[in-house]
């Protein structure tokens, strides 16, 4: 017996791609929004904060529907992106990545924001007196110091990217080879009487990949801590 069917291997490869891009999408936007939430005060700050948490508060299916409406080929944003950049999300793996990214977004923002709030403003002030503008202070002081938090956010985003189901299937459906990530394949197996063994195999692979990413992140973050802690 083959361990996994070729279709299932496709799902594994796709999940990796989706989780990777979801994380990559979250990263810059998430860090920026986290910075804005942590350090700026402006009207609408609280609204932005709620917006960020929305994918967590809403059932994933709702998030999926909203994405479908906004980013479907008929949707305003979707049509615009398609026309201007040739970017299609509907029923494409890119859409799966988008859905995972959106679902992972709150974690990315929270982890980063917590780290930003833990940075001693006195160090940022010191950098400012030495001539660094706000952007430079961020790039040379804040950013290096919040790397552990960003890394934690990435791990959460990647893990979520490996596990996201509800929003993905609602937004881009389950198309083998295109949008059928591991969670969708697992779901399919579970919907079928007797599919438990296949579901288990897929789950084990998924956990294995995520465990690898986790171990890597732990290692990197310990190294960073050791460097700052004095060596």
């Amino acid at each position: 017996m083959e361990w996994l069917t070729p279709e299932e291997w496709q799902a594994v490869a796709l999940s990796l791609r989706v989780a990777f891009w979801a994380t990559l999408f979250c990263l810059p936007v998430g860090v920026f929004i986290a910075y804005v939430l942590a350090r700026w005060t402006f009207p609408g700050r609280q609204a932005l904060n709620i917006l960020v948490h929305l994918p967590l508060i809403m059932p994933p299916v709702v998030t999926g529907y909203l994405l479908l409406i906004a980013f479907g080929t008929q949707g305003g944003v979707g049509a615009f992106l398609q026309e201007t950049f040739g970017l299609t999300f509907a029923f494409r793996w890119t859409g799966a990545a988008l859905a995972s990214g959106v679902m992972a977004f709150p974690f990315m923002v929270r982890a980063t924001r917590l780290s930003i709030e833990a940075v001693d403003p006195k160090l940022e002030q010191a950098a400012a007196t030495l001539g660094a503008s706000r952007a430079w202070v961020f790039a040379t002081v804040t950013l290096p110091m919040i790397l552990p938090g960003i890394l934690a956010g990435c791990v959460l985003a990647f893990a979520k990217g490996m596990g996201e189901f509800g929003a993905t299937i609602t937004f881009v459906s389950n198309i083998p080879g295109e949008t059928q990530t591991i969670p969708l394949a697992i779901d399919l197996a579970l919907e079928t009487p007797g599919g438990e063994a296949r579901a288990l195999r897929l789950a084990v692979i998924s956990v294995g990949i995520a465990a690898g990413a986790l171990a890597l992140s732990e290692w990197v973050s310990r190294r960073m801590a050791a460097r700052i802690g004095g060596a």
Binding site: T170, S173, N174, L188, E191, P193
Partner: protein
């Protein structure tokens, strides 16, 4: 008394209409737990406090019966349904389903929305019907498989997919889709919704509920929604 009914989510609408009437008429309390048939079946396997199970899928009911979880003699086919091809664009002309139908070029770049073709009953039936007319292989790469029929319906309703295959009942309930064809009954296994009382269930409320499903009132509601009577 009280009766807990685990029912396939495609029956949500009709069962919610029946609920108050049944309660008024019998004085029993009806608790409806609506979810996908597979989820419900697994929960029953794990000891869920269901009195009655209405499945959208014969396989799962078979499974429970095999494991001795349903009260013998209570299983019967409650409802039947039909499969239709729907389109988003109200101006879409009707098509006739047959081996010559070029579904692929009808779709163009678009997708055909169906339930999961190996798991969700509507998807399984749809795939069988397309196979029957030898259309499946041509159209398979363009199928978008939704988590359930409702999701397939909303793909079409929202315009994300131009065509879809759903139950007639779903298509009728949604204003934003147009039925462009009906699959002949012989093109796929019969679409049946079996019902049974659970082995652990007892009390008058359970029998009353099973009986109530057969009343003219209930049957009217089912018919209104587009369900057919399974001729068994």
């Amino acid at each position: 008394g009280e009766v807990t009914v685990f029912a396939a989510s495609s029956l949500t609408d009709v069962l919610q209409q029946i609920e108050p009437r049944f309660e008024d008429e019998t004085g029993h309390e009806l608790r409806l737990s609506l979810a996908g048939s597979s989820k419900l079946a697994r929960q029953i396997q794990m000891g869920a406090p269901a009195d009655v199970f209405i499945s959208a899928n014969v396989d799962w009911m078979d499974r429970l019966q095999h494991e001795g979880l349903i009260a013998s003699g209570t299983r019967r086919n409650l409802l039947g349904n039909a499969l239709v091809l729907i389109a988003h664009d109200p101006a879409t002309p009707p098509v006739s389903i047959g081996p010559t139908l070029d579904l692929s070029s009808l779709l163009g770049d678009g997708r055909l929305a169906m339930g999961l073709v190996d798991a969700v009953p509507a998807g399984v039936y749809g795939k069988a019907a397309l196979r029957h007319f030898d259309l499946w292989d041509g159209v398979a790469p363009k199928v978008a498989q939704a988590a359930n029929v409702r999701a397939a319906l909303s793909f079409v309703a929202s315009g994300a997919a131009p065509y879809g295959i759903v139950y007639e009942t779903d298509a009728r309930a949604e204003d934003d889709v147009t039925i462009v064809a009906r699959f002949p009954a012989g093109s796929h296994p019969r679409i049946l919704y079996p019902v049974a009382a659970m082995a652990t269930a007892d009390g008058a409320a359970v029998t009353d509920f099973l009986a109530y499903l057969d009343t003219a009132e209930s049957q009217a509601i089912f018919a209104e929604a587009g369900f057919s009577r399974p001729s068994d």
